[in-house]
Symmetry: C2
Subunit: 418 residues, 2 copies
């Protein structure tokens, strides 16, 4: 039984090879393994065919220190993981009478009798340890060795407690321990990927530890830092050093870390500043209000929202002068400003935020193309309006508009109350 530095994860089940389902269990397992310094080197998804399965297990065993299988431990003919691991390791099985009894009890309580098929679930690999599964009839199995093997049932509600408890209790002591792996995400908005990369690229380009990946999608950039503790420097220290350099370059463009959403950050700032807010939306159709109210306790800062698709509603609900719309069009800086100020005034809020634009795919013109969006933030000092041109399809334009609006609120709150 050697120390474990790396692992492979095998997800088993033909349904995972359809267009309809993907493996997500492995993300949870990866997080836990990384925490004790074990790196996941490969993930494989295979179906229920015994040869494919055996080949996948044998291949992984030849490469990794630890192989974790997920699924294929059920009672049916399609559940071949036990058999595949038996073949790959050249081991036979011992039926656990204890587990047979435990299944009998479970079935009796449900008023059913144990089927012949279920007995296979008590077949434990020679030399392996049975790991009790409190949530189902498929126990886990743990076979320590040059390459250790952990077999887990597939359903997340069975897999997670079994892995976190019995599984990690056996894996953690074997972890090479040379380095806890830590990941950190810095979340950025309001700049392009190439701009961000030009600022931070020189810092991370040749870095190995932490390794840095830049991921971008419209309205959002993520810098992923991944450090492995080495020698006297912990993963935390390695991350902190680079994070500080990134923050110095990116400044206020970093709005949050890890799983933090922009609305979470804005909500926290609104609460801290004891500011209330109202929204007036045209092309985003309520999505900005939806994001602002995503946060528990949002009734402490969110007062009202207006979704004003028609010109008439902008006049009626927000008090936008009809002449303003006639002169500049509903998609204009002037109307955006008037909408924001109107929402603020009518809701008696500290801040009024408005969005008006052309989300597409139709409605654009040469002068006002699809993607043109005006966003205003009104407060007692006045109105700030931005003109934006967002690329992409309707949904992408709408998301970017809410993202920019939230970021403008954030900037406004960072300045302090005017």
């Amino acid at each position: 039984m050697s120390s474990v530095r790396n692992a492979e994860i095998i997800a088993i089940g033909s349904e995972l090879l359809t267009p309809l389902r993907s493996d997500t269990n492995s993300l949870h397992i990866t997080r836990r393994l990384n925490e004790v310094g074990i790196e996941v080197r490969r993930k494989t998804v295979v179906g229920d065919a015994l040869d494919d399965l055996t080949d996948a297990v044998a291949g992984a065993m030849a490469r990794a220190d630890l192989v974790i299988t997920m699924g294929g431990l059920g009672p049916t003919e399609d559940d071949r993981t036990r058999e595949a691991v038996g073949r790959a390791t050249g081991r036979s099985f011992v039926r656990s009478e204890e587990w047979v009894d435990s299944m009998k009890d479970r079935f009796a309580r449900a008023g059913r009798s144990l089927g012949e098929n279920n007995l296979r679930q008590a077949d434990i690999l020679e030399g392996a340890e049975l790991l009790t599964n409190p949530k189902g009839t498929a126990p886990g199995q743990w076979l320590p060795g040059r390459c250790s093997i952990l077999m887990l049932p597939g359903p997340p509600r069975e897999l997670k407690p079994l892995f976190d408890g019995e599984g990690m209790a056996r894996i953690a002591p074997l972890a090479a321990g040379t380095g806890r792996v830590l990941t950190r995400i810095l979340r950025i908005t309001g700049m392009t990927e190439s701009h961000a990369d030009s600022l931070v690229g020189p810092i991370y380009r040749d870095l190995v530890n932490p390794s840095v990946t830049i991921l971008s999608s419209p309205g959002s950039i993520e810098l992923h830092l991944r450090a492995v503790g080495e020698g006297v420097r912990t993963a935390e220290e390695l991350i902190a050093g680079v994070e500080a350099q990134f923050r110095e370059k990116l400044g206020e463009r970093v709005y949050g870390t890890d799983d933090e959403s922009l609305e979470t950050v804005v909500a926290r700032m609104l609460l801290a500043a004891k500011q209330t807010i109202a929204t007036a939306e045209s092309c985003t159709g309520g999505l900005l209000a939806g994001r602002l109210t995503e946060i528990p306790g949002s009734s402490n800062y969110f007062l009202r929202g207006f979704v004003c698709y028609t010109n008439e509603s902008k006049v009626d609900e927000l008090g936008v002068p009809a002449e303003l719309i006639a002169a500049h069009g509903a998609v204009s800086a002037d109307v955006a400003g008037s909408m924001g100020a109107g929402a603020r005034r009518i809701a008696a809020a500290d801040l009024g935020v408005s969005i008006t634009g052309i989300a597409g795919p139709t409605g654009g013109s040469a002068e006002k193309p699809v993607g043109l969006v005006y966003i205003s933030v009104a407060d007692r000092a006045g109105v700030v309006t931005t003109e934006n041109r967002f690329p992409g399809e309707r949904g992408v334009v709408r998301f970017q508009a809410t993202q920019r609006a939230l970021d403008m609120i954030r900037m406004r709150l960072m300045e302090g109350s005017g």
Copy 2:
């Protein structure tokens, strides 16, 4: 170049081996391959290390008729897919001057000059065909053979058009075509999974072709049918027979098929019936309006939306009598009805839809627990209100509320205009 029956997909990138990201591109590719009768036998995720990558490609080539790689074609040192496939196939590279020129043009238009690194992106495997990528600087590559290889860039917005167009144009003619695989999803809302299963379970329990899987999440049930054409019966016929039986049992609970969302279906019905709509939302905070305006052309039916978090705003904006709120509370059937009727009247819409409830986690009481939500649809004939108790966390309660509201609109429109 032999006929293609099965494929393996390799997703490349160290970020896909972290707890933070998973491969989703392969679902799209699987769907397209299945449509021409090609089965995906294995999916692999590997990092950027050249040896791992080469080993994964060589292993897949030994097993499959077709190998599709995704990612690792960028300009940086981390992008090793070209090199790995070169090693696995024993081939060298030819630089495509044509692609170099195309990159130069692209960079010039963006006001930048081409870096030395980018030149590597024009390195095409000996004997392979360059597949033009209109969305980026990484072209695809197609190498037909005993095991054909398709290399695709990783970003979904580049991968999908390239695969659907140039990629499938080369793969489809090679497909063995013995059994076209077809998947069909029936989408259901407004009933529990166990109720749905009690209705359709007896039909599908022992079916093998099509195989049927039932997937459920709060507010939504999906029946997944997957058929493989056999003998004289096409996959379409196999699906159609079972789908008809399902529809007979489930009736109007089936709102759509495949990728259709509930808002798409409702939008289509609103347009067909030439009906306009206005919304009044409390706990869902604009999400219902957001979903109704997700659809291009929504300005033809959506007039205005009100997000009325405070009691005051319900009175001011929607004309809800203050006494009604005082007597029944803001979360009550009476207030919901008054909100819906108010939105309809003020917007001069055919339909007014309202939602008021307790999304949680706080704000619940013994009498009015978290998850209690009243939803009303008002039309000229009057108001229909439902009382709902949705399980789950804040976001889940909010989603279910919008789902139920859309379904109530759908039911209303199925009845015809009153």
